[in-house]
């Protein structure tokens, strides 16, 4: 068992190292120079070569690549992710400001889409082949096919412009809100983005839950349980517990994708999250931020996967036994 844990951790460590190296290389392969984004064209054009060199120097972008790589690795070791070209501030503080907002959105959406998706999926599986099943399936396919920005805009139109229940942009409470009121204001602003992300994540979760339960229901132990005369409810509980395994995997693995994929929703709702920061930094060739943010994403995904691998044996006795043998 311990050997298994060690091996898993080592494997993920190797993945992490490879990812860190790639993370350095990829942004530098894209065309475009950071300076051209720093200044509007008429000024970037008006800079003398010396001024350009001075600016690039300040960010260490004139050093030879091996030098830049050394600084990069040393920085990661120190927990110091350089300074953003666009903001002139440490990348760690930029990421710190945003990660909370993203966790609020992504965490909320993940919980909602997992719970609702799993419940609906199990319900469909139990009634497989009925019109309830096909109806739900069709509905889920429809929601899944809608692009998140479109769902976001519809929600905005209906609940913000139309009904006036929720504010239409931003994350922060107005500056004149105090205490409890400001917490309420923050939650109010999170409702529509969370709903949008949850709707976007609902489809895959539903499908996984449904197919998991369908295959569990075909197992011998279900037949056995039915033959024993257990009630529907009890049979369902047996099967559903087993079907939860793939659902938990998808939820954990989906965490990383969701963090990066929230960019569109963050744009529609002017939400200051990580996704939008990454998107804008890519456009700006703001290498330090791109690297910092991707590093954070990579670590999130690797850790989520590692957790999944390590926790799985406890959720599933079969896996646990297999390792003991």
């Amino acid at each position: 068992m311990t050997r298994h844990v060690l091996r898993t951790v080592a494997q993920y460590g190797a993945v992490l190292v490879a990812a860190i190296a790639l993370n350095f290389a990829l942004p530098r392969l894209a065309p475009g120079d950071a300076i051209d984004y720093l200044l509007p064209p008429e000024q970037a054009g008006a800079l003398t070569p010396e001024q350009r060199a001075e600016i690039l120097d300040r960010f260490g972008l004139n050093d030879p690549l091996p030098e830049q790589f050394k600084d990069y690795v040393a920085g990661i070791a120190r927990g110091d992710l350089l300074v953003s070209i666009r903001f002139g501030r440490p990348v760690t503080s930029l990421l710190g400001e945003r990660v909370g907002w993203t966790l609020l959105l992504v965490g909320g959406a993940l919980v909602l889409s997992t719970v609702i998706g799993a419940l609906l999926g199990f319900r469909s599986a139990w009634r497989r082949g009925t019109s309830a099943d096909t109806g739900t399936m069709a509905g889920m396919m429809f929601l899944d096919a809608l692009p998140p920005f479109f769902v976001g805009m519809l929600l905005l139109l209906a609940f913000s412009v139309g009904l006036g229940w929720f504010p239409s942009y931003g994350a922060l409470a107005p500056s004149d809100a105090r205490g409890l009121e400001s917490i309420g204001e923050v939650l109010k602003r999170a409702v529509l983005p969370i709903a949008t992300l949850a709707i976007a994540g609902l489809g895959p979760m539903y499908l996984v839950a449904r197919s998991a339960l369908v295959s569990e229901l075909a197992e011998d132990y279900v037949l056995m349980a039915e033959a024993k005369g257990l009630t529907d409810k009890e049979v369902r509980r047996h099967a559903a517990r087993n079907a939860l395994l793939p659902v938990s995997t998808v939820a954990l693995v989906g965490l990383g994708t969701l963090v990066g994929g929230a960019a569109v929703v963050e744009t529609v709702f002017s939400y200051p999250g990580l996704g939008r920061l990454i998107y804008e930094s890519v456009l700006a060739r703001d290498y330090p931020v791109i690297q910092g943010a991707f590093l954070l994403l990579i670590v999130t995904v690797v850790v989520a996967n590692l957790l999944n691998d390590l926790v799985y044996p406890y959720l599933d006795p079969r896996v646990r036994r297999a390792h003991h043998e």
Partner: protein, 601 residues
């Protein structure tokens, strides 16, 4: 089980909705009068050394809420004395005697003196990298030399060559910074989080990165206390979201030009005013003047003559703009040639004749002409993929010039890639054919603007260093203009514009109108500040009522308190019906399924 969960979820949802249901409109209830303005992007702490130009073209306007210049504004030939009471020169502009306003204080209470002004000029000059666009106005054109402090409120400013337009540039543009803040600071660009200290009508009191700025009125401003107590600049990057926020009342004004397709809709919305005040924007296509065949002025002029700019304005801008002029300079700029001499004549047959005469007679089987050396007239135009209007415009231009035998390909690129494609390693020629870009007031009103854009590429690295345009007559005229006063300079710059109209190194497609939307009930003191739009410090200061915008407020009944804007063009009812129908269908199917299971049992 599921049913119960769903029911309780619905109840929770409803309860939450009740909890969050309309709270009283902010900013109107209390004693503080707050105006919320949606801006495009974050600008760090908005000092001249730290802005990122994410909020362009408003970057300058935002800075000038907190900082002041000696005069205001750069867009008029006779700017209003601001921090300066007067500025006089007796030697044709090489030496300026500046008298400053007395009793002005910085936001931190320190008195403002002539030492601050002298320091500002010296500091901008010493920090060419960090001071970005302000640097060239003190180091290159006009060429600042040094200052001499006469007393607390008087100083002499020396230039290395006559700077007769000192009051406009840099006088009307350069933010004056505090000596006690920047003295001894070697890297001002790294001071990105401190609150700025200016003399302007607003003090910046809170910065929430990428979300908002909060400014408080500077009650002691020398032009009088601002008419509002608080100004909040909130960052809304997506244009659709910005106008949604305006409709819901979450913001009171959107600081960006209304997209043409939204103008009529916003005009028809109760409670929303639409103000007109151009910011002297222009959208133009630059030819690569160093690459054959586009280096041939006759070819460029022929292509320009084959473009119907009126049709562009009608189709692309839906009429909300003016067609471009071959002479480049914005028609409302103080330096512009009169319309009759500077316009644009669309004449397709004449354009064809010009191409024939210039030797572009050979044609490929597909009808595309060839240069005498055999090169096909295929013009590849780089356009920012973020500017759908520019892309539409260039596609239309392509259709217009196709009958001439010139093939135009539009290549949309992300902005950073586009800028790289425009550049070339030192010593070589960039490979692009043409690109589209926009300019704002500063380019059109700077008395030396033509110098910066069209002088031969020179050792200083500015001039037409991007397009590589070279013309000896042009160089002579704009060099001569730099030392001349108003009328004489205007005449010489007029001659230079005539050269541009003949040689067409750029084709101006159009000058978009400036149209801005605001909520009348929240604030209606907006003024049309020439060349600055309406988001300008004058909009918040007393004494400019005579240039107040002609908003809808003057035409209609004042909006009732609470600004009722139901049915403001949003299809709430259809959406609600669709949602109800979907839920109904779902419930129906669910029940059928349930029944069938029951029957099975």
């Amino acid at each position: 089980m599921l049913r119960r969960v769903l029911v309780s979820a619905c109840c929770l949802g409803l309860a939450a909705a009740g909890l969050v249901a309309p709270s009283p409109a902010r900013g109107q209830a209390g004693a503080t009068k707050t105006v919320r303005v949606a801006i495009k992007g974050f600008e760090n702490n908005i000092t001249p050394f730290t802005v990122g130009f994410g909020a362009l073209p408003a970057t300058n306007d935002i800075q000038h809420l907190v900082y002041d210049a000696l005069f205001w504004s750069q867009a008029v030939p006779d700017p209003e004395p601001w921090l300066a009471e007067s500025a006089e020169s007796e030697d044709g502009g090489s030496t300026w005697d500046v008298k400053l306003r007395e009793g002005v204080t910085w936001h931190d209470g320190t008195p403002f003196t002539s030492a601050d002004v002298a320091f500002s000029f010296d500091y901008y000059k010493a920090q060419p990298g960090a001071s970005g666009r302000y640097a060239h106005h003190v180091s290159d054109m006009p060429a600042y030399d040094r200052s001499e402090i006469v007393d607390e409120h008087r100083l002499r400013i020396f230039f290395r060559q006559p700077a007769p337009q000192f009051r406009i540039m840099p006088g009307g543009d350069l933010p004056i910074i505090a000596k006690h803040v920047y003295e001894g600071v070697a890297e001002p660009a790294s001071m990105t989080t401190q609150l700025p200290v200016g003399t302007g009508p607003f003090k910046l009191v809170e910065i929430v990165p990428d979300q908002r700025y909060r400014m408080e009125a500077n009650e002691d401003h020398f032009k009088g206390a601002p008419k509002i107590d608080q100004l909040e600049l909130v960052i809304v990057k997506d244009p659709q979201s910005a106008y949604t926020a305006l409709r819901t009342g979450d913001v009171d004004m959107v600081e960006r030009n209304i997209p043409p397709e939204l103008v009529e809709q916003l005009r028809g919305t109760d409670g929303i005013g639409v103000a007109e005040s151009t910011r002297f924007d222009s959208i133009q296509m630059y030819f690569n003047a160093r690459k054959a065949p586009w280096s041939d002025p006759k070819l460029r002029k022929a292509i320009s003559t084959g473009i119907d700019l009126d049709a562009l304005v009608d189709t692309v801008l839906l009429g909300h703009g003016r067609p471009g002029r071959d002479a480049f300079v914005h028609p409302d700029s103080p330096w512009a040639l009169p319309e009759a001499e500077a316009g644009h004549d669309f004449d397709r047959p004449a354009a064809a004749t010009m191409l024939d005469d210039a030797g572009y007679t050979a044609k490929d089987p597909d009808g595309v002409r060839k240069a005498p050396d055999g090169t096909r007239l295929e013009l590849n135009v780089l356009v920012s993929s973020f500017e759908p209007t520019d892309i539409r415009a260039m596609q239309l231009v392509g259709e217009q010039i196709a009958p001439l035998g010139v093939k135009l390909n539009v290549e949309p690129l992300d902005p950073a890639t586009l800028r790289t494609r425009r550049q070339a390693p030192p010593g070589s020629v960039p490979t692009y054919d043409a690109y589209v870009s926009s300019l704002e007031a500063h380019a059109h009103v700077d008395p030396d603007g033509l110098y910066y854009f069209f002088h031969s590429p020179g050792p200083k690295g500015f001039g037409a260093s991007i397009t590589g345009y070279t013309n000896a007559e042009m160089d002579r005229l704009i060099e001569e203009a730099t030392g001349k006063e108003n009328d004489e300079r205007k005449e010489i710059l007029g001659e230079a514009q005539k050269v541009l109209a003949q040689e067409v190194p750029v084709i101006v497609l159009y000058y978009p109108d400036g149209q801005f939307a605001f909520r009348e009930a929240a604030y209606d003191g907006w003024v049309a500040d020439k060349g600055q739009g309406i988001f300008t410090k004058r909009s918040f200061l007393p004494g400019y009522e005579e240039i107040a915008v002609q908003g809808a407020a003057d035409l209609e009944e004042p909006a009732a308190a609470g600004g009722d804007d139901e049915g403001s063009g949003v299809p709430v009812i259809p959406i609600a019906v669709a949602v109800v129908a979907a839920v109904g269908l779902f419930a129906y199917l669910g029940n059928r399924g349930r029944r069938r299971t029951a029957e099975d049992e």
